[in-house]
């Protein structure tokens, strides 16, 4: 068969795509394919009714069993249509007897239940193989193609049943209400007419699906062969060969002519070893042409395209500015071979140059060392201060703390108690207590290593102190001070003067003793 006349795009597809191609083929040649189907199936359907007169239930089974026989006419039509030559009715009728009865016993007995029937049918019918050769061929083609063929059978069988039901339902829906007919009446096979009606419905469903099934199986077969034998490439290669043939023949003629001329002028032994002085063939002239030709071929191709964008592109390429096609030649190293061995040292090195080079190198190394030293010095000396500056900057940017007890704490001065007592005596009892309380917090942080966070409330500070202070009397003092401060600060109730005096005295005992810690 010659693939050049193929009217179907043969390219490697996935199997499902191949079945789609089969469906597309049925759509394209619906008339011839269904014609071929009905040419065999309709007479057979009528004949079976005559043969099994009275036994109507037998007919659906028989016609189902004879399906492999019915498949052959559509496949014959499809295979010819694929090559652009669908046979007309008379030619098909003449081919039918041979077509229908070849290997029919095997097809209707042990091969009838082959689930990949549609896929193996072309091997028998189109390749004309039988026996062991057919089996071997089916196995060769089979492996990855068979699974989808089985699924195709499953899908088509279900599709056929679904379409039968769809047809019954459609008829039932179209029957007007005043006809007292239920859906179950439509499926009633107890009477002869009921059975005949069901036979017709079943035949319609089968007739719709079976040619599609055959075509899909045929497309699976075509796809398998396309994968294995590069059917998609063959027509292109043939066309290319035909296009190149005249040029190739001319070149061959020229070559023969050159050799002939050479034989006339060159002595026979000179034919074996080329003359050292003979001019080299003009390579650039030979290699400029393919590239420029390539370009011209591409332009012609673009201009022939039906796409407006590509035509616009072709017109643009025709502008004189873009018509330049030139060849530039230059030397460069080949990458696929090792470079030449390094050139030898010159016998008399230039000592001035060497001395200069050594000096420059020393200077370079020295500056590298200097740079590293500078970086190290900066890291050790300057970096901490610079980082601190950055940190201070970021601290300064945070919102200023509220006035009150959230001010930054500084170590308490030793005469803080005296100052507080002086404030108390001046009547500023709230300020005095505040000074004492803040002084205690600062003192706890500096003398007793108990820093309190700025966000902590009085009760939280007290809780921290309860947990961490090991000094019971100090804790007792801090608790009393906190209570008095809270009463004064929030309830505006000053403590007794004696209590205030005692607090000042006690504060001095715990916090005004310098840096040493008692516990």
């Amino acid at each position: 068969m010659s693939l050049e006349t193929a009217t179907v795009a043969l390219r490697p597809r996935n199997p499902w795509e191949a079945t789609d191609l089969g469906m597309a083929m049925v759509r394209r040649w619906a008339g011839p394919v269904y014609g071929a189907w009905f040419m065999v199936a309709l007479p057979l359907f009528a004949l079976l009714h005559l043969l099994c007169w009275g036994q109507w239930w037998l007919i659906p089974w028989l016609i189902w069993w004879l399906k492999p026989m019915l498949d052959r006419a559509p496949l014959h039509m499809l295979s010819h249509a694929l090559l652009g030559d669908p046979p007309e009715r008379r030619r098909l009728r003449r081919a039918l007897p041979r077509l229908l009865f070849r290997q029919i016993v095997a097809a209707l007995t042990w091969r009838r239940l082959d689930p990949a029937r549609s896929f193996t049918l072309p091997v028998m019918q189109l390749e004309g193989l039988s026996g062991k050769a057919r089996r071997q061929r089916a196995r060769d083609l089979g492996q990855p193609g068979r699974g989808p063929a089985v699924w195709l059978t499953v899908v088509c069988a279900n599709l056929e049943i679904a379409l039968d039901f769809a047809l019954l339902t459609l008829v039932w829906l179209l029957i007007p209400d005043f006809v007292a007919l239920e859906f179950s009446d439509l499926m009633d096979d107890s009477s002869a007419w009921g059975q005949l009606w069901l036979n017709v419905v079943g035949f319609c469903g089968m007739s719709l699906v079976e040619p599609c099934y055959v075509a899909a199986g045929f497309a699976l077969y075509l796809n398998r062969r396309t994968w294995l034998e590069a059917w998609d490439l063959e027509p292109g290669l043939r066309r290319l060969a035909a296009r190149l043939a005249p040029a190739g023949r001319a070149a061959a003629g020229l070559a023969i002519l050159t050799v002939g001329l050479g034989l006339l002028t060159v002595p026979v032994d000179g034919f074996a070893t080329p003359q050292p002085n003979s001019p080299r063939p003009a390579e650039p002239a030979a290699s400029i042409h393919p590239l420029c030709d390539q370009r011209r071929v591409r332009e012609a191709e673009l201009a022939q395209s039906s796409s407006p964008a590509k035509q616009a592109l072709a017109e643009t390429l025709r502008e004189p500015e873009l018509q330049v096609c030139e060849l530039q030649q230059r030397w460069r190293f080949r990458e696929d071979e090792p470079l030449d061995p390094p050139p030898e040292q010159p016998p008399h090195p230039n000592w001035v140059a060497e001395w200069f080079a050594a000096m420059v190198e020393t200077l370079l190394w020295f500056s590298v060392g200097l740079f590293i030293a500078l970086v190290g010095w900066w890291a050790l000396r300057k970096a901490p201060r610079a980082l601190a500056r950055v940190r201070r900057h970021s601290v300064r940017q945070s919102p200023p703390p509220d006035q009150g007890r959230n001010e930054t704490l500084s170590p308490p001065t030793a005469d803080l108690a005296d100052q507080a007592w002086r404030l108390w005596s001046a009547g500023q009892w709230r300020e005095a207590l505040r000074m004492l309380y803040r002084g205690s917090l600062a003192g706890l942080a500096t003398h007793y290593r108990l820093p309190t966070p700025a966000s902590a409330t009085e009760d939280e500070c007290l809780r921290l102190a309860t947990i961490h202070l090991t000094h019971p009397e100090l804790l007792d003092f801090f608790r009393r001070l906190t209570r008095h401060w809270q009463t004064a600060a929030y309830a505006h109730r000053p403590p007794e003067t004696a209590t205030a005096q005692a607090l000042c005295a006690e504060w001095a005992r715990y916090f005004a003793m310098g840096r040493e810690s008692p516990g």
Binding site: A6, T7, V8, A9, R13, N14, W16, E17, T19, D20, L21, M23, A24, M25, V26, R27, R28, W151, L152, V155, N158, L159, A162, L163, F165, A166, T169, C212, L228, E229, A230, L233, E234, G236, L237, L240, A241, L244, A245, A247, R249, A252, S287, H289, Q294, V297, R298, A300, E301, A303, Q304, S306, S307, A309, A312, L313, E315, R334, E335, D336
Partner: protein
């Protein structure tokens, strides 16, 4: 006869060779940049299988939900019916919009739903094509849907026609052409299609048997003047040159 003729300064359009249109299952879309996209539309067999997978997933989940909801007796049945309604109508649309145009069944078969112009499907299209399932299902068991699919060039069922969508095969992952290393030679001037043909031949070297390769290379023997494996090697050298593998 008129004594004057109009002179056209426009270049005559090159005659378009009437190429016989090959039957294919591809929908071609040309972008404004002049690039042709080939969308490989999917037909009834793959889509039926995808539908069955989706059906199994949906009803397995619904059965599990039903057995879990029996503890609520009648109230549970009500909740289950709501779940059934939502699953039946929204399961495909949700997946098609949010999971790359594919329900799990379609994903398993390598399918996806796109607009007819190749763009990803949006909510309105997904809803229309799935609400119109009801029309495709008529008279029963997708009778009209199957007929529509078989008679349409892009295998669109009625819902697809209304929503302007198609079901296509997702592209297989692009494999970089692997050409066996070797010498590269400049080929004769070739059209783009012919260049692709030569490269394609070299790339398929792994799947074709050597005898068939030699047979194909023999077709060009008139030009390469080489036969057998040497001819194959020459075509491979051309392919390397065309693919830019030359030094």
């Amino acid at each position: 006869m008129p004594c004057f003729s109009t002179i056209s300064f426009r270049q005559p359009r090159p005659a378009i060779m009437p190429e016989p249109a090959l039957l294919d299952t591809v929908r071609q879309i040309e972008t404004p940049e002049g690039i042709t996209l080939n969308l490989r539309v999917a037909g009834p067999v793959a889509r039926a299988l995808a539908w069955v997978i989706d059906l199994l997933i949906k009803y397995t989940a619904l059965l599990a939900l039903l057995s879990a909801l029996t503890i609520l007796s009648r109230g549970g049945l009500g909740i289950w019916l709501i779940a059934l309604f939502l699953t039946e109508w929204l399961y495909p649309a949700l997946f098609e919009v949010y999971a790359g145009g594919a329900t799990p069944g379609k994903k398993a078969l390598g399918l996806m739903v796109v607009h007819a112009n190749g763009s990803p499907v949006d909510w309105s299209a997904a809803l229309i094509r799935n609400l119109l399932r009801a029309a495709d299902f008529l008279p029963v068991l997708y009778g009209f849907g199957v007929i529509a699919m078989l008679s349409n060039r892009d295998f669109q069922r009625l819902g697809d026609l209304a929503a302007g969508t198609i079901v296509i095969y997702r592209d297989p992952p692009a494999i970089a052409p692997v050409l066996s290393p070797g010498p590269a030679l400049p080929p004769p001037p070739l059209t783009l299609a012919e260049q692709q043909l030569i490269i394609n031949f070299a790339e398929r070297g792994a799947t074709l048997n050597p005898a068939r390769q030699a047979e194909l290379a023999e077709l060009l023997a008139g030009f390469t003047r080489l036969s057998g494996i040497a001819g194959v090697e020459r075509l491979r050298a051309y392919a390397r040159w065309l693919a830019g593998d030359h030094p």
